[in-house]
């Protein structure tokens, strides 16, 4: 019995090895409080009581800069208007599970009010070419009865899915974001 050739005309011999894994875990208290507020039409963050004084959104119940525990008492209500401080335009690669086909933008938004920065947000009804740093945006909330935590609980990248559909330009003049440096992490 001779050994099979390692390669065939169409490349190396391949054996499929499909893997499917399911995980479930209760959301931590910080995310639970954040999710409750999201259903209620509010964005809450958490202010560090240590030296950095930064506002984190969503809350984590600790500060990664000062390395101290934070609690619900440190939660703060945040604005749902803000300024785009960074963005990237993603050209989608067609991998298994990919749903996007056209380039799309994901933006970081510095929220008005006490602070807080939301990452990887969607800008609605706006050509990718118009997305820019300094643009003023406002949250577009899902109708109250339609909000749910399924997307938040899916462990994906969005921290506002199921509550906020995305963000719309307000038409206000662009903001000079150099004023916002050091307000986020």
């Amino acid at each position: 019995m001779s050994a099979a050739k390692d390669t065939r005309d169409d490349g190396p011999r391949i054996m499929p090895f499909p893997v499917a894994l399911h995980y479930e875990m209760p959301a931590a208290p910080a995310i639970t409080r954040y999710g409750e507020a999201l259903i209620d039409g509010r964005i809450i963050g958490q202010r560090c009581t240590g030296d950095c004084g930064l506002v984190y959104v969503p809350p984590r119940d600790y500060c990664p800069i000062d390395v101290i525990e934070l609690t619900a008492a440190d939660d703060v209500e945040l604005g749902d208007h803000g300024t785009i401080v960074n963005f990237t335009v993603v050209t989608p690669v067609q991998y298994p599970g990919q749903e996007e086909t056209e380039p799309f933008a994901r933006v970081s938004i510095a929220l008005d009010g006490p602070g807080g920065m939301l990452q990887l947000q969607d800008v609605l009804d706006t050509p990718v070419s118009e997305v820019r740093v300094g643009m003023r945006v406002a949250a577009v909330w899902r109708p109250e009865g339609e909000r749910n935590l399924d997307e938040l609980a899916a462990g994906g990248w969005s921290s506002t899915g199921g509550g906020i559909e995305g963000w719309m330009p307000t038409g206000e003049p662009d903001l000079d974001v150099s004023r916002l440096a050091g307000k986020g992490f």
């Binding site: 995980y23 931590a28 984590r60 119940d61 600790y62 990664p64 000062d66 390395v67 525990e69």
Partner: protein, 350 residues
């Protein structure tokens, strides 16, 4: 050789399912260890952690836990996809270079979120074993039966291991499963994987642990009773279960030899035996006689936070030296299935 000691440690009670994040658990245990050591996180020269993304259900999951140790300004940090005991081995190795004298080691693991029968076979040979969905209970049972067939142990021996460990765990605030159990009552329980019964299997646990290592002069300055690591080594056996003698743990014996176990007897041994028959194998591999106290913590049958179990054995062994005045103790950690890979370290008081 640079002398290295454990000068601080921390752990959290192992639970069936924690309500907080792994990062929060890491914050807790690392703060405990740093406080005990009397050092600030800014004094740490190198940090190394152990965990497994497949347990957490997210690629690079371990990166988030760096938030718990303060990675700003940037720190020197490493990670192993292994039990924290191996992270400690890397930390010990780092100290041998002599340019840093304080290392923080931490580990975390949640077995509760995943579906065990999906996750565990992925640890095995992808061609010959994983496609069969060979699960850890079944593999441990094949090992147990080999022990019975060889006449090396009996089912009663397995039950006695369970009873002793669970009884020891009663006094351990960090243990998850404990209690006084009658051996005959245990033997009356049905098999889950003949010859293993439910109590012969480890609990599903979430947990975390941390240690602070210091080298020579720093250790002596920091701790009244530093816990010196006088020997540490790890070895690995053949992966294929049908190609090695499952009734013996040659890699444990060799690791112990290299760690200098034979130099002087140990008083206590904390062994990572998640399945009761494995404690029989390890006692034999380490030639531990009746004078050695085994698993005063309750061992891995009382709590098995995978990726943490081994470092918890180190912490519990260190407690024996620092808190209970023991002179020379052994801690053992295992990785892979059916005791494939084993780490032994010897800890001594001043």
């Amino acid at each position: 050789m640079v002398d290295v000691a454990i000068v601080g440690y921390g752990q959290v009670p192992s639970v069936r399912c924690t309500e907080i994040t792994e990062t929060q658990m890491v914050l807790d245990v690392t703060q405990q260890a740093l406080r005990m050591a009397g050092v600030d996180r800014h004094d740490i020269g190198f940090t190394v952690s152990g965990s497994c993304d497949y347990l957490a259900g997210q690629a690079f999951a371990f990166v988030q836990t760096i938030e718990a140790i303060g990675a700003w300004p940037p720190i020197s940090e490493s990670h192993v996809e292994m039990d924290g005991a191996w992270a400690m081995y890397e930390g010990w190795t780092r100290l041998q270079e002599g340019d840093v004298d304080l290392v923080l080691v931490y580990c975390h693991g949640r077995s509760s979120p995943g579906t065990p029968w999906q996750v565990w076979p992925l640890q095995l040979d992808p061609y010959h074993l994983a496609p069969l969905g060979l699960d850890p209970w079944s593999l441990a049972a094949l090992q147990a039966r080999a022990l019975l067939d060889a006449g090396v142990a009996s089912e009663r021996d397995f039950a006695e291991v369970v009873a002793r460990n669970r009884a020891n765990a009663v006094d351990n605030e960090y243990a998850q499963v404990s209690g006084k159990f009658d051996v005959d009552a245990l033997l009356a329980e049905p098999y889950v994987r003949n010859p293993l019964r439910r109590h012969d299997l480890p609990p599903i646990s979430d947990g975390a642990a941390a240690v602070v290592l210091a080298s020579r002069d720093r250790a002596a300055a920091l701790a009244e009773r530093p816990v010196w690591i006088t020997g540490i080594d790890h070895r690995i056996d053949i992966h294929q279960p049908g190609m090695r003698d499952l009734t013996r743990s040659e890699s444990t014996t060799r690791a112990a030899q290299a760690a200098g176990l034979a130099d002087r007897p140990v008083q206590v041994a904390e062994l990572s035996a998640p399945f009761s028959p494995q404690e029989v194998i390890l006692r034999d591999a380490l030639a531990l006689d009746g004078s050695v106290e085994i698993n005063p913590s309750g061992g891995a049958l009382a709590a098995n936070p995978v990726m943490v179990t081994g470092l918890v054995r180190v912490v519990e062994a260190a407690r024996q030296v620092r808190e209970r005045g023991r002179d020379r103790v052994l801690a053992h950690a295992t990785a892979g299935q059916a005791l494939q890979q084993n780490l032994v370290c010897i800890l001594e008081g001043p």
